[in-house]
């Protein structure tokens, strides 16, 4: 009997949550919007997502092998990165793009910096930023037109290049509100169809409803908390309302939240554990910062959608925010802090 017992440090019971479980749950939450996008845009979407996920996992495995680290592809973090990257690139791009993006996101963005937990920027968004810089035309134009019937098979019939269109935010930015209304309908119709997902854009920009549902599920599972999404969307709404209209206080906050990647960013991108602050106050500031930068880039910047860059810009600040908003200690020692 002696010596057979297994010794380890306390605590001897652990909660049933694990990194693997969290990552794969988040991936699972992204599946419904993906399936809806397949229905809206066609099978091409599924292929792009598949290539993205597989290449991210492959790059993860290869880089871990090459760097002599334990291979942890199974923990799902690479799969999640792949999934998210597919959600933020136009569905009509060539398959080469997600593969290149995976190299940037996983190898350069993550493993060179020390692997999971040490990346400074959100890998998926880093991949997207890289692709946007490298293939500016494809990344800003390869939007598919949402199809109403038999979409799944249309890819095989028509090919991809034939059907491209502009995203709602791009129309809004480049052609103004009037053109936007003309193309996408009156506000009352827009809200509903945008919320459901009938609009051009990347996968992550389509169905607000499914994204929100997934996000709420993650909140219910306590994988994410309300702090980042609420402060982020609240700031976007507030600032758009104040500055987004022709005069002050006439912007359309609801439209700002529903269009573009605001919802995906708020629930899935900004809440990425590694690159967001841990303290709750820090998270609120972080979310508000992303929201403000998003509105800044949308209204004044060079891109129609700003949330991706806004998150990237706030990522390095998360360490700073954690330093500024340390958790409150139980009680200071007598005589105060040293």
């Amino acid at each position: 009997m002696a010596g057979l017992l297994n010794v380890s440090v306390s605590p001897h019971v652990r909660s049933s949550e694990s990194v693997e479980k969290i990552m794969w749950t988040v991936v699972a939450c992204l599946v419904p919007p993906l399936l809806l996008s397949v229905f809206v845009f066609g099978i091409q979407v599924l292929l792009i997502a598949g290539v993205s996920v597989i290449s991210c996992m492959a790059v993860e495995a290869i880089s871990q092998k090459a760097l002599g680290r334990p291979v942890t592809v199974k923990d799902g973090s690479a799969a999640l990165t792949g999934m998210l990257m597919a959600f933020v690139i136009p569905p009509g791009v060539s398959f080469l793009l997600p593969i290149l993006g995976a190299v940037m996101a996983i190898y350069i963005g993550k493993h060179l910096l020390g692997g999971i937990g040490y990346n400074i920027f959100n890998p998926a968004l880093l991949g997207r930023a890289f692709l946007l810089a490298t293939f500016p035309v494809a990344m800003t134009t390869a939007w598919l037109v949402p199809l109403t019937d038999g979409a799944i098979f249309s890819y095989f019939n028509s090919g991809v290049d034939a059907v491209t269109t502009a995203t709602p935010l791009a129309v809004m930015k480049e052609q103004g509100m009037d053109a936007f209304r003309q193309q996408f309908g009156a506000p009352s119709e827009i809200y509903a169809s945008f919320f459901l997902g009938w609009r051009p854009g990347c996968i992550g920009e389509t169905s607000g409803l499914l994204i929100v549902l997934g996000g709420l599920y993650l909140m219910w599972r306590r994988y994410i908390t309300w702090h980042i999404p609420v402060s982020l969307l609240g700031t976007i709404g507030l600032l758009t309302w104040v500055f987004g209209g022709e005069t002050l206080f006439t912007g359309d906050p609801l439209l700002a939240i529903l269009t573009g990647g605001a919802l995906l960013g708020a629930f899935y991108m900004a809440t990425d554990y590694v690159t967001s602050p841990s303290s709750k106050t820090g998270q609120m500031v972080y979310g508000a910062g992303i929201g403000a930068l998003t509105v800044l880039i949308r209204l004044k910047g060079g891109y129609p959608e700003g949330i991706c860059y806004a998150i990237l810009l706030m990522n390095p600040l998360s360490t700073v925010l954690d330093n500024w908003f340390k958790p409150k200690r139980f009680a200071p020692p007598i005589g105060g802090e040293k």
Partner: protein, 440 residues
């Protein structure tokens, strides 16, 4: 019933697993053939043995004493013959000096008669507590008489009795409260007299409604003799039983970092310690036995046992019908803060409140991975520390720089490690960090 209270920050709620033993009455375990009494059972200087090899001892005889410094004497748990003054297994230090007694199974049970303590002065009472070798048997092992002499510049106004028993599995205090409520209340009165105060609150987590009821009834019985003893139900949350958290939950006062509860006018004692105080003062019985919860899915017959200090685990296992084949880990103490032992030749000490026989199903043996900075440990830490940073710094060979994260305020409750999805051994990191930070 009074509203339930709890501490505001941090804490976790692991599965309670108390069903296994909470309805089992305390059983008296028969004397084993041999007892090994470790000489250093309390915080402070270990005892020096006062008996030599082959000396005859009877139950309650002094076998060890502290000549100088913090400490309490040690007594023979049973009559018999000193087999050796040497070393025996220890859950933390692997081996430690001890006195081994071959039990004389024929010796008659020692009888204790209650006496009236009301006329004793508090000085006399305090001496009895010391002489009986009483220490905090909830787990800390801090000599009780020291706690009862708070520094004069911090007047104490409240005595808290800790009946929270927040660790999963353990039901020793629960059973003690059910079966010995009047004795505990009597013990509380003794403590109040020693402290020279009248106010006492007994904190009990409300997963033990029967204990709350028993204790309330017992406390109500004391109304009218000048003491105010009440029962305070507490929300079920770990680590409610930690002194600082308990004090905050019940009184709302915050004990400053690196300070004792007396700094905020409170003294905390475990309910079982209080029972031991009763035994020492009323029955003049030294602390030689205690209630230990034997639980976990790896033991055939879980039980709440009254065992002699020095009983070896192997004897307990035998008494409880042996272990199951899928046993994976034996833990002395609670699953959150206890120590896993490598073999069963380790004796029960005064501070052992439970021995758990855990199977793979109960423990989580997932390998650790890198910190993903989810921040769950920040939410779980009742002390408002940053365990993830401590872990990352220790891994990055910068353990000596962890004082900025308050590593010395950590009392290693294990809440952070419990919630960690990356299964990181945060408590171990903290211990390492403390060692290195102290050195630098």
């Amino acid at each position: 019933m009074a509203p339930t209270l709890t501490f505001p920050k941090g804490g976790v709620h692991p599965p309670e697993s108390k069903k296994l033993t909470e309805n089992l009455a305390v059983e008296v375990m028969p004397l084993p053939a041999e007892l090994e009494i470790i000489l250093g059972q309390h915080i402070g200087a270990p005892c020096a043995a006062t008996v030599a090899k082959r000396a005859e001892v009877s139950e309650g005889d002094l076998i060890g004493e502290v000549s100088k410094g913090l400490g309490v004497p040690l007594h023979a748990p049973a009559s018999g013959k000193v087999k050796a003054v040497g070393n025996s297994g220890h859950p933390v230090r692997v081996s430690a000096p001890s006195v081994t007694i071959t039990v004389d199974q024929e010796a008659p049970d020692k009888q204790y008669q209650p006496r009236d303590w009301q006329n004793d002065t508090s000085q006399e009472l305090l001496k009895r507590v010391h002489d009986a070798g009483i220490i905090g048997i909830g787990g800390a092992g801090f000599p009780t008489h020291v706690k009862l002499k708070p520094p004069s510049d911090n007047p104490v106004d409240t005595l808290l009795l800790n009946g929270a028993e927040c660790e999963p599995y353990i039901t020793a205090d629960h059973r003690a409260m059910l079966e010995m409520a009047p004795e505990i209340v009597e013990g509380a009165k003794i403590l109040l007299k020693i402290l020279g105060i009248t106010n006492c609150v007994i904190g009990i987590e409300n997963n033990k409604p029967d204990a709350i009821k028993m204790m309330t009834d017992a406390a109500n019985g004391t109304a009218g003799d000048g003491f105010s003893i009440t029962v305070q139900p507490l929300e079920v949350k770990y680590p409610q039983g930690s002194e600082k958290q308990l004090i905050q939950a019940i009184t709302g006062r915050k004990v400053p970092a690196m300070a004792l509860p007396s700094a905020v006018g409170v003294v905390v004692h475990n309910v079982s310690t209080t029972k031991a105080v009763y035994d020492a003062v009323v029955l003049e019985k030294p602390l030689v036995e205690k209630v230990v919860t034997i639980s976990g899915k790896g033991i055939n017959r879980p039980a709440n046992l009254l065992v002699k200090v020095g009983t070896k685990l192997i004897d307990i296992v035998e008494f409880c019908g042996g272990v199951k084949p899928d046993l994976s880990r034996v833990v002395m103490g609670g699953p959150m803060m206890g120590f896993a032992v490598s073999d069963l030749n380790i004796p029960i000490s005064k501070t052992t409140s439970s021995v758990l026989f855990l199977t793979d199903e109960e423990i989580d043996a997932n390998p650790l991975s890198a910190c993903i900075r989810c921040g769950w440990c920040l939410d779980a830490c009742p002390m408002g520390l940053e365990p993830k940073e401590i872990g990352v710094f220790v891994e990055g060979n910068r353990a000596e720089d962890t004082e900025q994260f308050g590593v010395f305020e950590c009392f290693e409750c294990g809440s952070c490690a419990y919630v960690c999805p990356a299964k990181r051994p945060l408590v171990q990191f903290v211990r390492l960090a403390k060692m290195k930070a102290k050195r630098s």
